[in-house]
Amino acid sequence: MAVCAAIVGKENSPKFFCCVNPDEELNFQYKVLSSLDIIEEKLNPTNKPGTEIKELYLGMLYSLETCKIYGYVTNTKIKFIIVVDSSNLQLRDNEIRSMFSKIHSEYADMVSNPFYTPGEPITSKLFASSIKNIITGTV
């Protein structure tokens, strides 16, 4: 299971944060924000052709002593970020991958709610709980 999932908007402002341990949120916010540097570089259009990433999943962005950080960017430039504890070794890449696509579906549904204004922070309790379930692997 992952320890934190975040959704970052088109203009890199945070839309949603979900931490297994809420006290860590601020700390994770910094980590997630830093990871945007790497996402930006990975998707940099000036990268030499051929190197651009076709997949929405960007793989691991970087790893620290404490945690590993994975990224996923939708065609609409919404960034999903998952933080995994470094001690957690049994979590495999394809599991992360599927977590992301689950989150993506949830997000797409959430955006379809006519009473949600895209770009606003996401406050839906329903959404929060389903994301939590995804990262804690309870679905």
């Binding site: 203009e11 830093s34 570089e41 770009g119």
Partner: protein, 1119 residues
């Protein structure tokens, strides 16, 4: 790095400053050492120059030179040990060994001696030289140092010099040198060249020397055994590696360092040797990484470093000295960062995910752990133990050994008291360290790197951590600056969580530095709803704000330690002491504060006579009521710039309750000079407080405010009922002239006709409430380049646009004037004519007013003219023949919706064409025509010359006018056809009609208007309608420029339109010199000149007398 540390650690004993630094001797690049003896660079100019040419060269070989005085003491040589059996090493690396080989023990010694071959005192000098060699040799007894003699000579050597050869041999023998050890250095122009050659030779000697050294070390290896001599394995490999480095063979050097490192790892680590092993490991790993970078193996270097760290990360050694461990780790990272950075400077490409910054950052992290450990372990150590357990630190033999038990082997148990003291001493010293500055400087290095490798956000985070450290070290001022610098970036990306976190820190700093300005600004931001700070904190801050507005010192955060608060209060004391009011102006533009505003002009344009009005919407998201004292706007226009205040007479409360939106309206009169110019709001200013105490101005610039096009913005479509958030700000508007009450009417008969002088009546009626003056009526069009003419006079004298129509300057209320504009268009088109009436009201408030109207004037052709040409037989022709008359028929098709009256028409023929009528007179003059009607006329003409292209027959001139209009003359060119010439012309004389059974005389006139004889066969075909007399078949010849007439007497048999007998003209076969005349031309000639039918009228009863028709006909023809 060193410098920085030193300056940090003032106060603590010097050795502790470098306690964790790598020794210089380890960090320098090892260079082969060459000793120079016999050079007196102080008194001897020549020697000086020689010395300098050796040392001051940029591309030197990897050697360093050292002057060796005669009294020089070389390190004493240890007695050769032939068995290691009983030898137990006291440590791993002697800390004087590297220095010895770097600076004290040359690989080569060069003895310089001034001696020319032809020197008068040759023998004496030779002996002295020899003795010098001897004494040096003695001093270096037992070492392999190579001794070389260089003779400095003044005369250049000759190619073949027996004397030189002989004396050289002599000198060598007396010095006991082989000939490869004697060199001459002629001091002269080529000095540099010689030195280079010498240097290269010396360097070779050095390499041999170090090679041997390494070999010797290798020899010992066999005597060593695994259990007692583990240290020696490490040491020996290290030495070999080092010698190879001196020899500049980094490949082997790297190999041996690695071996050395592995040997080191084999050693069992216990408390007593932990420090030493860790220290040495650090040294060797440093060398390995450095060499790997040099060998361009960055990945291996990084891997080596990682594994190195992994191996020692958890070997923290003594708990009491945990800080030591962290200090070491921090240092390891810092140093690796440095060599990585050096490598990058040498051109190694680094990437975003692998660059020196990462290591500096880790260094900082461990430095923080070090600090924490220190705070835990050392805070209570106040006294330095006595006697000083670190006494004699400089005399310690081995790197990384405890000072209080040097050279003890792990086996023996440590003495408790000594240990305790030693530890205490270290703890005491550690406590003196200014950790923060270490941490901060490491962050500094990391930040610089992250900037290079495109990680703005990571960099920002580091800056915040740096600020954190500044705060910790009570440098609140610096912390505040760092924090507020970062804020703006985080605001851009709206990371409220982080912003809130920063703001809380920042406002603490602002408070602790008594920075009122910042305190207020930060407070206003914290109080906004988007910042999540605990409500009680918001409340405290809110109350503090109000205290400040009253010039009272705010309360500090109770969570802060007491002493810190004390200092803060001392700082605050003077702030409000002054009597005069304190005024602060804050730029709120870039911050999202608890005061939000929307400003908008109520209309996109304002007419000059109405008041310009601006709506101000203000909303506070502060959880507590805010009280403002005034609100003003700065409004600019090209001509004016005013600060406008809200009207406080309207008793609207300036107390704002949470999330309350209030609307204020500011109205003012625009300056008439700003007509058609833009006015805009530059800023809004909200004032808090009284000027008796403390005035705070919140300035909201407008330019930046309205450039937010974030995602959710495009969803702010207003519903029918709009709220504050969806409200759009409008910061500019335009002043326009008042809309005029003058009534303008046009009277004219559309459409205008091309060419005519078209008059439009303008009727101006003053329906204003007062008289008007300075009345101007201006006429202009959109496109300047149409050739349509305008005039204010019926004379239609063209004038340049814009035209001011002649009208009286003033116009009484309800009175009217009329004027006209005359237009002549030359093409059918739609012509847009603008009429602009400008005037000022003749009232107490003279306002300029403008009325714009447009006349859309379609222009059409009055008629179109086409022309057809016919032969004398009235058949249309498409070719003229010189000398043959033909008919010109201009047709006029009338298009004007209005009837057109034709005053006259005529044709002006263009030579060589000419009219065949005595005087031309129009056949339609005086008639009027309506739309769609067509008029036609007939004129007889003839061309005198031939022409091989279409001829312009002449001009058709139509003089016309509308009914009761002015007359217009339209001239249209008449375009004709080619004109051929043939020598022959043919005419017929016949009566208009004949009578049955009454003879008719018909004559055919063959006219030859060439200067040649024309011969023709003439024939008449038989016809049922007639009997006739005359040649049926004949051949005629027509003389040049003469006419031949053939006469036939026809006797009509039947009545009606009867076909005449056809005349046939043919060119005789036997015609010798036939002129330019072809059969087909003849046939055509007949076709167009000879009628095919003639009317035959039934017999008149009674006797018929022959009418005199022929004569009259002749007349016509001859005319």
């Amino acid at each position: 790095m060193e410098q920085r540390l030193i300056q940090i650690m003032q106060g603590s004993p010097s050795f502790y400053q470098n306690y964790f630094n790598l020794p210089q001797e380890l960090k320098v690049k090892p260079l082969a050492l060459i000793g120079f003896s016999g050079l007196d660079i102080v008194n001897n100019a020549i020697h000086k120059s020689v010395w300098e040419t050796f040392i001051n060269r940029n591309e030197k070989a990897a050697v360093s030179y050292k002057l060796i005085s005669n009294t020089h003491k070389f390190p004493v040589i240890k007695p050769k040990r032939n068995s290691y059996d009983w030898y137990v090493p006291k440590g791993i690396l002697k800390n004087n060994w590297m220095i010895k080989h770097l600076n004290e023990l040359p690989a080569v010694i060069v003895i310089f001696y001034d001696l020319d071959w032809k020197d008068s005192l040759w023998n004496e000098k030779m002996i002295e030289c020899a003795s010098r060699v001897q004494s040096l040799r003695a001093a270096l007894e037992g070492r392999d140092t190579r001794i070389v003699v260089v003779l400095i000579q003044n005369v250049l050597p000759l190619p073949e010099d027996p004397l030189a050869a002989e004396r050289a041999v002599a000198l060598c023998s007396s010095c006991e040198l082989n000939s490869q050890s004697l060199y001459i250095l002629p001091h002269g122009p080529h000095l540099l060249g010689y030195t280079i050659r010498l240097e290269n030779t010396f360097f070779e000697f050095c390499q041999n020397y170090y090679y041997n050294c390494a070999k010797n070390v290798k020899l010992h290896k066999d005597h060593l055994n695994k259990n007692t001599h583990q240290y020696l394995f490490v040491r020996h490999q290290f030495k070999m590696a080092f010698f190879n480095e001196l020899k500049q063979d980094i490949q082997s050097a790297h190999k041996h360092y690695s071996l050395s490192y592995n040997n080191l790892l084999d050693i069992r680590i216990v408390d007593t040797n932990a420090l030493e092993i860790r220290t040495v490991a650090g040294f060797i790993s440093y060398k390995i990484c450095k060499l790997m970078f040099a060998l361009n193996l960055p990945r291996d270097a990084i891997a080596q470093f990682k594994s190195h760290i992994d191996k020692f990360k958890n070997r923290s050694g003594f708990q009491e000295l945990a800080f030591e461990h962290f200090a070491w780790l921090s240092k390891q990272y810092e140093i690796f960062g440095e060599i990585f950075d050096d490598a990058v400077k040498q051109g190694l490409p680094a990437v975003q995910t692998q660059h020196p910054g990462i290591y500096y950052q880790q260094g900082a992290q461990y430095a923080i752990l070090r600090k924490k450990a220190c705070q835990e372990l050392c805070s209570k150590i106040i006294a330095y133990p006595h006697p000083d357990p670190l006494e004699g630190i400089e005399r310690i033999d081995f790197y990384g050994q405890r000072l209080w038990r040097p050279g003890k082997m792990s086996s023996e148990p440590p003495e408790p008291i000594v240990e305790a003291n030693g530890i205490q001493a270290l703890q005491f010293l550690e406590n003196q360290i200014n950790h923060s500055s270490i941490i901060i400087s490491l962050y500094g290095l990391a930040i610089a790197q992250y900037k290079i490798y495109k990680c703005p956000r990571t960099r920002r985070h580091l800056v915040l951590q740096m600020a954190e450290e500044c705060y910790d070290s009570k440098d609140f001022g610096k912390a505040l600056t760092l924090l507020s610098h970062m804020l703006s970036d985080y605001r851009e990306e709206k990371w409220w969580g982080i912003i809130s976190n920063i703001l809380e820190k920042a406002i603490k700093c602002a408070y602790l530095t008594a920075n009122v300005q910042d305190y207020i600004q930060l407070a206003l931001e914290i109080l906004s709803s988007s910042i999540n700070v605990a409500l009680e904190d918001k409340k405290r801050i809110y109350e503090n704000l109000n205290r400040i507005f009253k010039k009272q010192i705010p309360y500090g955060d109770p969570k802060l330690p007491h002493d810190v608060l004390q200092n803060a209060i001392i700082l605050w004391q003077p702030v409000f002491n002054n009597v005069e009011p304190s005024v602060f102006t804050l730029d709120m533009t870039k911050i999202i504060s608890c005061v939000e505003s929307k400003l908008r002009f109520t209309k996109p344009t304002f007419e000059i006579d109405q008041k310009v009005s601006i709506d101000i919407f203000i909303k506070t998201t502060c959880p507590f009521p805010l009280v403002f004292s005034d609100i003003s706007l700065k409004v600019n226009s090209p001509c004016t710039s005013n600060e406008l205040f809200i009207d406080k007479s309207e008793k609207k409360s300036l107390i704002f309750h949470p999330n309350e939106v209030k609307k204020f309206v500011i109205e003012f009169e625009a300056d008439p000079n700003d007509i058609n110019k833009e006015i805009q709001i530059e800023w809004m200013n909200i004032t808090i407080g009284k000027d008796s105490e403390c005035l705070v101005n919140l300035k909201f610039e407008t330019q930046i405010l309205n450039v937010d096009n974030s995602e959710s913005k495009c969803f702010q479509k207003q519903g029918k009922n709009s709220d504050f958030n969806t409200l759009k700000s409008i910061h500019n508007s335009i002043v326009v002239p008042r809309d005029s009450k003058v009534n303008l009417k046009f009277e004219h008969d559309l459409p205008a006709l091309v060419g005519e002088c078209y008059e439009v009546y303008l009727l101006i009626i003053n329906e204003e409430l007062s008289a008007i003056k300075d009345l101007k009526v201006e006429i202009y069009t959109d496109d300047g380049n149409s050739e349509t003419q305008f005039s204010s006079l019926p004379s239609m004298q063209p004038e340049k646009l814009p035209i001011n129509l002649p009208v009286s300057q003033t116009l009484e209320k309800d009175s009217r004037i009329r004027t006209s504009i005359f237009i002549r268009a030359f093409n059918p088109e739609i012509c847009n004519i603008h009429v602009k009436i400008i005037y000022t009201l003749d009232s107490d408030k003279p306002v300029i007013s403008i009325k714009n109207e447009m006349i859309i004037l379609p222009v059409v052709q009055p008629f179109e003219i086409t022309t057809t040409y016919v032969s004398v037989l009235m058949q249309e022709i498409h070719k003229f023949y010189a000398g043959e008359e033909f008919g010109v028929m201009p047709l006029i098709k009338f298009l004007s919706p209005w009837p057109i009256h034709i005053e006259n028409t005529s044709i002006e023929f263009l030579p060589p064409l000419k009219s065949l009528e005595t005087e031309l007179h129009s056949q339609i003059a005086g008639l009027s025509f309506n739309k769609e009607e067509i008029s036609s006329e007939f004129y007889l003409a003839l061309s005198e010359k031939s022409s091989d292209q279409n001829m312009v027959v002449g001009e058709y001139i139509v003089t016309w006018k509308r009914e009761n209009g002015a007359s217009v003359i339209t001239r249209v060119p008449l375009h004709g056809y080619h004109c051929d010439w043939i020598p022959l012309n043919l005419k017929i004389s016949a009566p208009a009609h004949g009578f049955v059974r009454t003879p008719v005389i018909i004559q055919y006139h063959l006219i030859n208007h060439s200067s040649h004889l024309v011969q023709l066969d003439v024939g008449m075909e038989a016809s049922d309608g007639f009997m006739f007399s005359g040649y049926r078949q004949s051949s005629v010849s027509v003389l040049p420029n003469s006419t031949k007439t053939l006469q036939y007497n026809l006797y009509p048999l039947i009545a009606g339109s009867v076909a005449l007998p056809r005349i046939l003209l043919t060119i005789p076969e036997n015609s010798t010199d036939g002129p330019a005349l072809r059969q087909d031309q003849l046939n055509q000639l007949i076709e167009r000149t000879i009628p095919q039918y003639i009317y035959v009228i039934p017999q008149i009863k009674g006797n018929a007398e022959l009418p005199e028709i022929i004569e009259s006909r002749e007349m016509v023809l001859s005319s």
